[in-house]
């Protein structure tokens, strides 16, 4: 049957419109507009793709595929490790659907983009309040890429060749950092940790930091959930050698934990996903990036920055992109970074989220997470052969669970939990850090009810009690 209507997304495909337009530009066939594409390069067949579906069919098809997944809503899930389940208030999702924000582009014309610009300025401001920094950019891709950019920024500032990271760093963040700095031919050195506490081994750090050190990086809370408390010493050791101090944070901890700016960090980065963004199978995420107010730091900061200004007449306050001369579209090969499309909408989501919570809500969130995870650690640690957590330090949200003395592998335990109890356990980290034995990383947030934690404990008991 010949087509009788235009495609819903392409209005000008109706024969009359198309013919009329072709006539006006003086062509008989659309192909004339491709006359400059050499014949030998033409695709002389149709693309091998499925036949177009109606909207109903698309919906049915995609929903059927998605229904093959078992989501964290369908089963208690105790995974974190860089992407954390948190409740997203309905108001956040609702604002995100405002199509003026959703369907706009980078605010190149500020007069008509004040909404997005003000929202991003508010985002930058809130990230500065959270981290106790002076300037923030309007987002990076995620924590991992923000780390890559932060170390590159440090090198631009002090022109040195080494960076120091904790040995217990998130392996994906380390891998991303290595990719980002590989062209700079840098050495990434790993600081040892104290076997009892998990904290950075200060003596080892002192030995590693030298005049070659561009930056010292720590994660707080660490990848394995414990809180690095020696922040003042680390800052001092770093600054004694004039290296930059970079701190990576989980922002949900900053209602109760001391912000990086208060212990003299130069750059604060982190993952903003827990602030009002869904898991989305790991993406999009939201890279936080903030620094101290020193001009030489701000000038070397990567990414887009929104600034407050006035109209040319001076009668009103407004917002526009600032310091664009650092950016690729102006500075080209001398730009501080190539980033342009960032995670603006995710940044707005986190702004709405933080506005809803306020300072007391953020503190309460931190306390709730910490209380619930303490409770879970307490429950699991009572089990024979189970050690939770492995380290003696204070923990936030995530913690290690060691199964060495149960004689079972994490992998087997988790499979039994999933198959027999419909519970998704934590992340098996026995391959990432073999020296920690049969250990997994569990995550507890405000979304995990007491019942779920109790159910986990009961199921684990059943799994561990069973003889093989």
């Amino acid at each position: 049957m010949p087509k009788t209507h235009a495609h819903p997304y392409i209005p000008n495909t109706t024969p009359e419109t198309k013919r009329g337009m072709m006539q006006q530009i003086g062509i008989k066939a659309i192909d004339e507009l491709y006359s400059d594409v050499p014949q030998k390069l033409r695709l002389k067949r149709k693309l091998n793709l499925p036949k177009a579906m109606s909207e109903q069919e698309v919906k049915k098809h995609v929903e059927a595929l998605l229904s093959k997944n078992t989501s964290t809503r369908d089963m208690p899930t105790f995974l974190g490790a860089g992407c954390w389940p948190h409740y997203v208030p309905a108001a956040v999702d609702n604002i995100m659907q405002r199509s003026e924000l959703l369907t706009s582009y980078t605010p190149y014309q500020p007069e008509i983009s004040q909404g997005m610009l003000q929202a991003l300025f508010e985002y930058q401001s809130m990230i500065c309040e959270l981290t106790a920094m002076d300037a923030a950019n309007s987002s990076m891709y995620d924590w991992a890429s923000a780390l890559g950019e932060a170390v590159r920024m440090a090198v631009r500032v002090n022109n040195r060749t080494e960076a120091i990271v904790p040995k217990l760093i998130h392996p994906e963040r380390l891998a991303t950092l290595q990719t980002y700095v590989e062209p700079l031919k840098m050495h990434i050195r790993k600081a040892e940790y104290n076997r009892e506490t998990g904290l950075i081994n200060i003596e080892n750090l002192k030995q590693l930091v030298s005049n070659k050190t561009a930056a010292v990086y720590i994660e707080n809370p660490s990848y394995l959930g414990f809180i690095e408390s020696q922040v003042n010493e680390i800052a001092e050791i770093t600054h004694d050698r004039r290296a930059l101090f970079i701190v990576g944070v989980d922002p949900t901890s900053l209602g109760i934990l001391k912000p990086p700016g208060d212990y003299d960090a130069d750059i604060a980065i982190g993952e903003g996903q827990p602030l009002g963004n869904h898991l989305n199978y790991g993406g999009p995420l939201l890279g936080l990036f903030a620094c101290k107010g020193e001009t030489e730091l701000i000038r070397q900061m990567p990414g887009r920055v929104i600034g407050m200004t006035t109209t040319l007449k001076g009668d009103k306050t407004g917002f526009c992109m600032a310091l664009q001369t650092r950016e690729q579209h102006i500075r080209r090969e001398r730009a501080t970074s190539n980033i342009c499309t960032n995670e603006a909408l995710c940044a707005v989501a986190s702004t709405v989220y933080l506005a809803l919570l306020g300072p007391d809500g953020l503190r309460e969130l931190g306390e709730t997470i910490m209380t619930r995870s303490q409770y879970a650690m307490h429950k699991l640690n009572q089990m024979a052969g189970v050690k939770a957590p492995l380290f003696s330090s204070a923990h936030f949200k995530e913690f290690t669970v060691n199964f060495d003395k149960t004689g079972k592998k994490v992998h087997t335990i988790h499979e039994a939990l999933l198959k027999q109890h419909k519970i998704h356990g934590g992340k098996d980290i026995s391959k990432e850090f073999p020296e920690l034995g049969q250990t997994s990383l569990y995550c507890i947030t405000e979304t995990h009810s007491r019942n779920e934690i109790d159910r986990l404990a009961k199921s684990l008991k059943a799994v561990l009690g069973r003889k093989r």
């Binding site: 995609v62 989501s71 964290t72 001369t325 001398r334 709730t368």
Partner: protein, 516 residues
């Protein structure tokens, strides 16, 4: 005339009042609380927060109103015509947003066991196969989060390839044309290359003579978009590919302009070795005011072994999708996890809605619309179309208002600002750099003829205004949320305010200074 909302909306820090809350949290059971005690007290003093962050305190209704008002002071594709050249601001189909919000995606954790995520893995795997077909490449990686992120990865793959051949110390130069997007040289530099710029010829395409002179044993590759930023197809692309390959370099395709050629020709067939795809452009996913986007890359077989991990794979024996980390020569990772999945799912749904025929039709109509504008805008006083007159443009065209600027003093920026008063978004201005007073216009396929005519009419009227009352245009816009802004003030070290905290500290300094 158009009128945008002007709310005079205060910065959020000035709103609300002490004790107000927009969200409550579930309470902790009493006996749990008793068991673990006051957890904040268990924190070492050195790391306990002493002062609460200065966030605003607002009720839910205040938050919703604030951001609703802000959204009304923002212009999106759903608000009207958005011909921002090179950005492909096409319509963002609603069904795709609806599907991306489903819990089967939004509440999936990336570390879940593979058997619990077979649906999303199938979607991602299939999408990567489709993108390989559309671009004519052998394997696609979905990991990069944006076009420029894909560029960085592409450049790193080229570097890895030369390194594998023992050539990386020698092959230090990456060639880009003078009309290239700024991301090309920036990405190349980040990947450790020296940038060599080749000029365009009088047709606006790569000057072959200059290219031949630029290549050497130092050449790592060439980054080139096709059609180029002037909207002109590089018809010598096969020869360009030969020149680069014979010199031992690799050819990189900047996918910003892929929308014009879908189903007509493929970068892989033109001789490109690496291709990035801007999902948020070509596949119509919403751009969110600057992101999230997604920038998958497709590569030829030779480069596939260097792709980041994990690749999404299908095991035909076990009939299962899985994440394949077994790639010993991989460059590693460029971000956490696997990519902007919520954006990629929208592209998957988009391709289902379009099919092969729909994608080709989108390319054709985007080109038809652009050439219609070329014809109509060429008739406007003060406008001229530089380069390759009479040659068809692809999806976009670049006009120069240099004649108008000389005759009336009205510049491209003024035309852009005045357009806002007509309820139309401006084209890209002052880019590509090879055109003076440039207006780079990309209508896309999703605009109806009547809207194109309205756009032409608006520019014709602006031209009349420029020649009769230039100040009217120079002081525009009048109907946007705000009049022209002082962008110098925003970047000047003495007046710069990049956060509320910085702004307040500045006021404190000012107040202190005035007391002295």
């Amino acid at each position: 005339m158009y009128r945008q909302a002007q709310w005079n909306e205060p910065v959020i820090f000035k709103l609300g009042g002490k004790g107000r809350r927009g969200c409550t949290l579930p309470t902790v059971d009493d006996d749990v609380g008793k068991l673990v005690g006051n957890v904040a007290d268990t924190l070492p003093k050195s790391i306990r927060r002493s002062q609460r962050p200065r966030l605003p305190e607002l009720s839910e209704v205040e938050v919703v109103r604030h951001f609703t008002r802000l959204s009304q002071m923002n212009y999106g594709v759903d608000s009207g015509f958005y011909p921002l050249g090179s950005c492909t601001m096409k319509y963002n189909p609603k069904i795709n947003d609806l599907l991306a919000g489903a819990t089967g995606l939004s509440e999936l954790h990336p570390d879940q066991s593979e058997e619990t995520v077979q649906g999303i893995l199938e979607i991602l795997y299939t999408l990567s196969q489709w993108l390989a077909e559309i671009t004519g490449t052998d394997e696609v990686c979905l990991q990069p989060s944006a076009g420029a992120h894909g560029e960085l990865l592409g450049a790193l793959l080229m570097r890895a390839c030369h390194k594998r051949n023992g050539d990386s110390d020698k092959r230090t130069e990456l060639i880009v044309p003078d009309s290239a997007h700024g991301t090309n040289p920036a990405s190349g530099t980040m990947a450790g290359f020296k940038i060599v710029v080749v000029p365009s010829n009088s047709n606006g395409t790569v000057d072959l003579k200059a290219l031949k002179a630029a290549v050497s044993e130092k050449t790592a590759g060439l980054m080139l978009t096709n059609p180029n930023t002037l909207g002109i197809f590089e018809e010598d692309i096969a020869e360009i590919a030969d020149i680069i390959h014979e010199a031992g370099g690799l050819l990189y395709y900047d996918g910003a302009n892929l929308n014009a050629i879908m189903g007509k020709t493929r970068p892989g067939d033109m001789g490109y070795d690496v291709v990035h795809i801007n999902i948020h452009k070509t596949f119509g996913t919403p751009h969110g005011g600057g992101g999230p986007g997604a920038g998958p890359i497709g590569v030829c077989k030779e480069l596939a072994k260097f792709l980041p991990v994990p690749q999404i794979a299908y095991d035909t024996k076990r009939k299962r999708y899985h994440l394949d980390y077994n790639r010993p020569e991989s460059v590693g990772k460029v971000r956490g996890f696997y990519g902007s999945v919520a954006v990629l799912l929208r592209a998957f749904a988009y391709i289902l809605s379009m099919g092969a025929e729909g994608l080709e039709e989108a390319a054709e109509i985007s080109v038809l619309n652009a050439n219609y504008l070329v014809k109509k805008l060429s008739e406007i006083r003060g406008f001229e179309l530089p380069y390759a007159k009479g040659r068809p443009r692809k999806h976009e065209c670049v006009f120069s208002v240099k004649p108008m600027s000389k005759e009336t003093g009205v510049r491209a920026a003024d035309v852009a600002k005045r357009l806002l008063d007509y309820g139309l978004h401006s084209p890209t201005t002052y880019f590509p750099l090879v055109v003076e007073e440039a207006l780079m216009i990309e209508p896309t396929e999703s605009i109806e003829k009547e809207e194109l005519d309205r756009f032409v009419e608006a520019l014709r009227q602006i031209s009349d205004e420029a020649y009769s009352d230039p100040n009217l245009v120079k002081n525009a816009p009048y109907n946007a949320a705000i009049t022209r802004l002082d962008e110098v003030k925003a970047s000047h070290p003495k007046t710069m305010a990049l956060s509320w905290r910085m702004h307040q500290n500045r006021n404190v300094i000012k107040a202190a200074a005035s007391k002295v």
